[in-house]
């Protein structure tokens, strides 16, 4: 973890705003990862929900990619707001307002060049906003069951690889959970044994960000 600490410390200087090319690569990595895995997300959703999570997320991120040039030229807060509004407008389903809220809250919280501490505090506030929007909390078999553990791994000082690992592991850990929020909660016990599609999409997005930032 030595080398990653060094790069984290450098980011703590808060002097190096993400350049345009880096922003472009980040947005594009997250969008492409979700689009590539759309069928998998829909298959997970078909098992315990209404089967449209992949198609919905794909539509949202295709709209994001269409604006890639404009978005990557923006400051980080404006970029996050732009992505959030696209997701709210295009995703439909419950994931649109929830992921939209995540990005919009990040846009309010993060400066253009966040230090590690500012990033942690921003992510914490954004997760709280998602909880409020969904009237939900950790343990209900939702995206929060990935967002929260990944956040905790980051706060604990984890590097990109360990945050990514925490996110993927947390998505796997939704399999034995019983859903008590969202469409899957209608299934009660029958939701047990399936990975939550929202948890999976959250892990894919976090994974893509970590791949990109971890270099």
């Amino acid at each position: 973890m030595g080398s990653s600490r060094a790069s984290d410390d450098r980011r703590d200087d808060a002097s190096d705003a993400l350049d345009q090319e880096r922003k472009r690569r980040l947005i594009s990595a997250v969008a492409r990862r979700v689009i590539e895995r759309a069928d998998e997300l829909s298959a997970l959703d078909a098992a315990i929900g209404d089967g449209d999570h992949g198609a919905n997320m794909k539509r949202g991120f295709e709209a994001v990619l269409q604006d890639l040039d404009t978005l990557s030229a923006m400051s980080l807060p404006d970029l996050l707001k732009g992505v959030g509004m696209k997701l709210v407008a295009k995703v439909g389903g419950a994931a649109g307002p929830l992921y939209g809220t995540l990005f919009l809250a990040l846009s309010k919280e993060l400066p253009d060049a966040p230090s590690r501490a500012a990033a942690a505090s921003g992510f914490g506030a954004a997760i709280a906003a998602v909880k409020a929007r969904g009237k939900s909390d950790v343990g209900q078999k939702t995206m929060l069951d990935v967002l929260d553990p990944a956040f905790k791994a980051f706060v604990a000082g984890g590097d990109a690889a360990s945050v990514r690992e925490a996110a993927y592991l947390a998505a796997d850990e939704t399999v034995p959970m019983r859903a008590t929020r969202g469409r899957a909660s209608f299934l009660g016990e029958r939701s047990v044994g399936h990975m939550d599609p929202g948890a999976r999409s959250a892990s894919l997005m976090i994974g893509a960000v970590c791949d990109e930032l971890g270099g």
């Binding site: 209404d50 449209d52 198609a55 919905n56 539509r59 709210v88 407008a89 295009k90 995703v91 439909g92 389903g93 419950a94 994931a95 649109g96 307002p97 929830l98 939209g100 809220t101 929007r133 969904g134 969202g182 469409r183």
Partner: protein, 128 residues
């Protein structure tokens, strides 16, 4: 004073339209009414933009009561309300009530000139 407006938000355009038809049968044109259903891709779901437009169509200075079906309809409606101009935001409420019965009873109450809080309370009395 104008009557409270009613907005119906369902994942299915057919349900939203059908519920609106039942409302019209009860109250005629006495109540501003709008419905929306389906996502921006034309499938089942809800659309933030379409909900914002529906609130606008059903706008009344007495306020607007929104009836929703499942999860995303509620969260998308909440976001649409929060995006309204500050003067309008406090005059739109989501009723925690069954969508069809709630819409019909809320509209009936609204047609008698009741205020927004009363319209919401009467609709929410239907919830188990």
């Amino acid at each position: 004073m104008a009557n409270v407006g009613i907005v119906i938000v369902s994942h299915s355009p057919k349900i939203a339209e059908g519920a609106a038809e039942m409302v019209r049968q009860m109250v005629g044109d006495d109540v501003p009414l709008a419905w929306t259903g389906g996502n921006s891709g034309g499938g089942l779901g809800t659309s933030f933009e379409a909900i914002s437009e529906a609130i606008d169509r059903a706008w009344s200075d007495a306020g607007v009561a929104v009836l929703v079906d499942l999860g995303g309809a509620e969260t998308n409606s909440e976001m649409a309300i929060e995006a309204l101009p500050a003067g309008r935001r406090k005059r739109v409420v989501i009723c925690d009530a069954p969508i069809v019965e709630g819409a019909v009873i809320a509209a009936t109450e609204a047609s008698g000139g009741s205020d927004l809080e009363t319209v919401r309370r009467v609709a929410e009395e239907l919830s188990p």
